[in-house]
Symmetry: C2
Amino acid sequence: MYKVNGKEYQCSISIVQDIFNDKWKLGIIWHLMDGAKRYKELNEQVCDITQKTLTIKLRELEEHKIIQREVFAEIPPKVVYSLSHIGEKLRPILHAMYEWGIEYVKECGEFKEGATCESKLS
Amino acid sequence: MYKVNGKEYQCSISIVQDIFNDKWKLGIIWHLMDGAKRYKELNEQVCDITQKTLTIKLRELEEHKIIQREVFAEIPPKVVYSLSHIGEKLRPILHAMYEWGIEYVKECGEFKEGATCESKLS
DNA sequence: CTGCATCCTACATGATACTG
DNA sequence: CAGTATCATGTAGGATGCAG
């Protein structure tokens, strides 16, 4: 039995399931793997996400301590988000997911030209 | 640009996001990593899932070719589910998620006795 | 630029009962 | 045993406008 963020889980895999059970968090983390980014950059790079949803998801990731939020006292405002220590440890998992996706397309789908999302496999 | 299962994706990571964006699929796959299992076994082992939802998720995983469904012509009925070739390739990813979950609890949560879900890290 | 406040809807999931 | 059939519900997410 594990207890995190006020919830109880039977298995550590269900923690991961629960945290990432939405449409956006993986994509946000994926883009933060480039390095720290501003709100607007994320808004542009995470395809089709609305401002409202981006804000909510960033807050959730921050509460879960997977990302950090840094505010600069400037005009106009500047806020930068980056992966935390534990967030950084997601990197190999996201890489593996990325590669699995490629494999999956090879077996079950089609590949088209013009993929816009570079691999981040530095 | 990728096209799988009738949908288009900008990035292979979004394929993975889309496929596993629900409350149950990771858990189902996790339990199938033990080996092939019957409907009832899954119903018991995937905590708190209802029959209706289990059926829906198994159908989706089958459509996506991540699991296989095998029917035995017996009375009473016997149906067995198992990971497909591409499904098997999720194994290291789930393992990594499991371990990340442990790390996450160490940093951000509490550990209690009585975790019921063995690690499957044979 | 970085948000928040509303309003709204679709869909994922749950509860329960039933069947070949 | 392995599912369907109904009914009900919460909430994630979208659209839009406003604010410091």
